[in-house]
Symmetry: C2
Subunit: 261 residues, 2 copies
């Protein structure tokens, strides 16, 4: 039967009393957000330890001079991030083993840039072409419609790591080759005001062809990771379709999933 585990004495975070939250009502930053950030910092620095109870919401709101809904909104932010757990009748506590943070959607960002390995990018192709059937279907445009195709070779430490092939609606933004070689595609899109919202990905594997092997400095038949992805902006419009291959000997996808009830 379901034993939730030894439940060894949870105490109200002793540090919480002495913790002085500095809330600035003059700031344009919302109060709930100021509070959430300070709670998050306290958890990050270990001031609030895993398993600590936060103290009930009413007391907390009185102590902070905030209304209860505002305190709840701050807590909800951290619950969404997986840092706090709420239990009715029990209280709100700091999650036991912190899941490694900052990785939530790294695979949506520039895949290698996040690793801090100083990646380099060589743009092999950057031109307008008519959309093939699969590209048109992925981007939700007519077959033969104008799209930009982008092919990049990415390397770290002078070693090739991946061949990235992307298709974008031609009208979406200007893709400057020089800028693409100094930053990631997604960063470029964001700075053009495109807000990425979701993506659908397929990750598979296969053996390298002779040509792929040569370009990636592998032997023929070496294992490759493959990814296809369609990314959508916050209105649900497809904004990018990509087909990537990665050297499995030098790269793996690493990410965290949050289960929403």
């Amino acid at each position: 039967m379901a034993k939730t585990g030894g439940h060894s004495r949870t105490a109200i975070a002793p540090a919480l009393d002495s913790l002085d939250f500095a809330l600035d009502r003059g700031s344009p930053v919302p109060l709930y957000y100021q509070l959430a950030q300070q709670l998050e910092a306290a958890i990050e620095h270990g001031v609030l330890a895993p398993g600590n109870l936060l103290g009930n919401e009413i007391d907390l709101s009185v102590r902070l001079g905030l209304s209860r809904p505002t305190v709840r909104q701050a807590i909800q932010t951290l619950v969404d991030k997986g840092l706090l757990v709420r239990r009715r009748g029990v209280g709100t506590q700091v999650v036991h083993s912190q899941v490694k943070r900052g990785l939530e959607l790294s695979s949506l960002y520039d895949d290698l840039e996040a690793a801090g390995q100083g990646p380099t990018t060589q743009v092999v192709r950057n031109e307008h072409v008519p959309a093939t059937a699969d590209v048109a279907a992925a981007l939700g445009i007519a077959e033969g419609g104008d799209v930009v195709v982008l092919e990049r070779l990415r390397a770290t430490h002078g070693q090739p790591v991946a061949i990235l092939c992307n298709y974008l609606p031609a009208t979406l933004l200007e893709l400057d080759t020089a800028r693409l070689e100094s930053t990631g595609l997604y960063r470029l899109m964001r700075s053009a005001g495109i807000t990425l919202h979701s993506a659908r990905q397929t990750i598979g594997a296969r053996c390298a062809t002779a040509e792929e092997a040569a370009r990636l400095d592998e032997r023929e038949g070496a294992a490759l990771l493959t990814m296809q992805r369609t990314a959508y902006d916050d209105t649900g419009r497809p904004v990018e379709y990509g087909t990537h291959i990665y050297r499995a000997s030098r790269y793996a996808f690493d990410f965290q999933l949050l289960v929403r009830p």
Copy 2:
């Protein structure tokens, strides 16, 4: 510069007026949840079409006889699911291209079961062993501590697809071999009252060894997808560590990511 796209006349959903939401205050189901479900159904059935504006929150709350915060809570639920988009000064609209639904975290569930391919599972190993260093680290227990190791061969249509190796804290639940052969591990854990909350995954690829190839009915050197995963319950406790290999010729990971701002 950022053109958000042709913005072709968005109209208030004409259907919204005639849509009668049936809210039952006697029900134990929260009002915001009743509303969210009915809105979701309307979107799903196309009554609310992509791009339609929902009408402002104040009018909506008056019309429904609810307070504005309750209406907001319902809308927020659907925004979180990626079905609605809010824009300050503009309104709330139905997302343009609905992202395929029901896939959000399929890779956290029984990987093949979701595909509806009638998978079969053969339990090769199910016993208590002392934790090795890597298993102990992943599960946050002492090296040499008691863990259950589980090895399963999964197949569809009589063809092997994956070899799944999992480690669980020994005290967590009873793992009945017969039940494991008829259902997935995660389903078993959920029915034992364990609430999965998050997981950290690494997906890579490599070539099959001779022994792996033999067990998976592949040739030596064939591409394999590899996954390592640590799953956590809603208190942040690690509840499972797994090392899986999949035949790349017969399986790929397919999932959707939501970007949270």
